[in-house]
């Protein structure tokens, strides 16, 4: 929503400012330039069509600039676009542009009650007025029309995305089937995940708890959801070993899900009574206050192991350094590229980017999950292949290959 408002606002601002700039040009020139201005020649080839790949209420216009724009008499300072419902009807101003402009997308609102409403399937007639520094002197173009706007049902500009979605989905489903059929799927070691079991054992021996930090992600981050799977696994082990578990949460929704996850894990481990609501608690939804509190917990509870999995930002190093100072073993994983270096430097084990997502499949060892992991590898192989082809085609000047990957909007 915020983004949407922002875009709308900035469009309005931009539109408004171009408009006002054009306005200033006209007004000021009128004041300074008293000499008579000759009428400019009109623009040519005015053409309007429905805008592609949208939900209607929008028309795309193009024209050839007036011969007096930047050449000839050099007296064109801008254009105005007018629209009417019939060729001899009342023309309404739709836009103002500086000189040199030769195209415009006339977007109306789709809500009927809006003042900017522009109906679909309605005939419109357009004309473009070439302006001079004298507001009295201008030339209109020939009228173009009728033209209608209408919505498309399918956005062809996004075909590359669709192709990939379908390809990936098919591969995943096929591989999951194959895995279900009993095909043995190899998965390489992930030292960071293997260390988890070891670390829980160590915590049990030391009689100290395990601290699990889900990061600053909300439930809207896939990394956080990936983290639940690992949390579920850790909680189950912890329940079996009867070690303590501390899960301070940053986001209330995240906390809710984490509570469910841990509760389930304790039930699965056959110790539902050992679960306590105090294990998973909310701290605060403010980055550095959260860090301050977790830092305090680390030095006061002295957990044997700290596990950081999910989305992390600037706090990554503060947490990891304090944990190292407290003498805990630290295992981390994040998909936040800027923070991976800090975890790599300060933690004992780090799951780098994609490894975080692979971890859940690795832990589950279910054929379903392994099948999807295999599909990821196929996709990477495809990327490498494409990169080689791209490398070669670029060298022989075949830029067209790259264009295939162009997503229009």
């Amino acid at each position: 929503m915020k983004l949407k408002t922002l875009i709308v606002l900035s469009c309005m601002l931009l539109g408004g400012s171009v408009f006002s700039a054009a306005q200033e040009v006209t007004d000021a020139t009128a004041l300074t330039d008293t000499a008579a201005v000759a009428a400019p020649r009109p623009i040519a080839d005015l053409f309007a069509r429905d805008s592609e790949n949208d939900h209607g209420h929008s028309l795309t216009l193009s024209w050839t600039i007036s011969p007096d724009d930047g050449a000839g008499q050099m007296n064109v300072i801008g254009y105005e676009l007018y629209r009417a419902l019939s060729p001899d009807g009342e023309f309404e101003l739709r836009g103002k542009f500086p000189f040199g402009a030769a195209s415009y997308i006339d977007v109306g609102a789709k809500e009927k009650e809006s003042s900017q409403y522009s109906p679909d399937h309605t005939d419109f007639y357009y004309k473009v007025r070439a302006l001079t520094s004298d507001p009295e002197v201008f030339t209109d173009s020939e009228i173009f029309g009728p033209v209608q706007s209408y919505g498309q049902w399918f956005n062809t500009g996004r075909i590359p995305v669709l192709v990939f979605v379908i390809g990936f989905l098919t591969t995943t489903v096929i591989l999951i089937r194959r895995a279900r059929g009993g095909a043995d799927l190899f998965v390489r070691r992930l030292p960071g995940i293997e260390a988890v079991d070891e670390a829980i054992g160590r915590a049990t021996e030391m009689g100290k708890p395990i601290l699990y930090v889900l990061g600053l992600g909300t439930a809207a981050d896939i990394a956080t959801i990936a983290s639940y799977t690992i949390l579920g696994r850790v909680a189950k082990k912890v329940a079996e070993y009867q070690t303590g578990l501390i899960v301070p949460c940053y986001d209330p929704v995240t906390m809710t899900v984490a509570q469910e996850t841990v509760k389930t894990a304790y039930a699965d481990a056959g110790r539902p009574d050992a679960y306590s609501e105090d294990m998973v608690y909310f701290v605060t939804q403010s980055q550095f206050a959260y860090v301050a509190a977790v830092n305090g917990t680390m030095l006061r509870e002295r957990p044997a192991t700290n596990i950081y999995m999910g989305k992390f930002f600037a706090e990554s190093l503060i947490l990891a350094e304090t944990g190292a100072f407290a003498g805990s073993i630290q295992i981390s994983g994040t998909d936040e590229i800027a923070q991976i270096p800090f975890f790599v430097v300060a933690c004992d084990y780090t799951l780098i980017g994609e490894e975080l997502y692979a971890a859940s499949a690795y832990l589950g060892r279910e054929p379903l999950l392994l099948g999807s992991l295999k599909a990821q590898d196929y996709a990477k192989a495809a990327v490498i292949l494409l990169a080689i082809i791209g490398f070669l085609t670029m060298n022989f000047g075949l830029e067209g290959f790259k264009e295939l990957f162009y997503i229009s909007n």
Binding site: K4, A220, Y228, A267, F342
Partner: protein, 224 residues
Amino acid sequence: MRRTVPLTITFIVGTGLILSVFFPPFETVGEDFSLFFDIIAVFAFFLGGGNLLRVHGTRIQKKRRDWGYSFITVAGFFLMLAAGLFKLWNPGGITADVTAPGSLFQLMYNWVFNPLGATMYALLAFYVASASYRAFRAKNSDATILLVAAFIILLGRTPLGFYATSWIPDSFSLLQIPNLAIWVMTSPNLAGQRAIMIGIALGVVSMSLRLILGVERTHLGVEE
């Protein structure tokens, strides 16, 4: 049943959102859903606030370690909550912007919240140094590469880096440390980032697919 319904909801919502991208009439569904998400998150704040009070209440009640400090948390919470919800000291009254200058809310933000946050953030300057000292050691080939790359960048940002290699002629200026630092940032660094990014994108796509298909379901909790 209690598990089937949630899995079905996830499947329908997920597939619907993916498809909406390709069909212009439904293009804005994603934005609307993100907005809905924000609204639901605010409801969750009440869960969070309630949980916070419960945790600290228990600490005070059971006189757990450091229970006295829990009073401070609770007091700070209620003071700020009152300042924000009732717009205390706000020159514009209840309809004014909550962060209007002069309001207690804004004062607390400027003089308590902000300095505390900024100082926590500033601790990073210290931790960057202690982490460099502890971890940048040539223990093996990987660690050595990490160390050398970091050292080149650090050197490139001090006059030392310039003086150390200023004798290199301009036609070989790539080998001068400040330029080398720029080159490292723009070439190998870019390559590494890109590999990680592609990997992450695939991981996210695959994970989302698993969630939508209901293969991954840990987050949904117990079967009752």
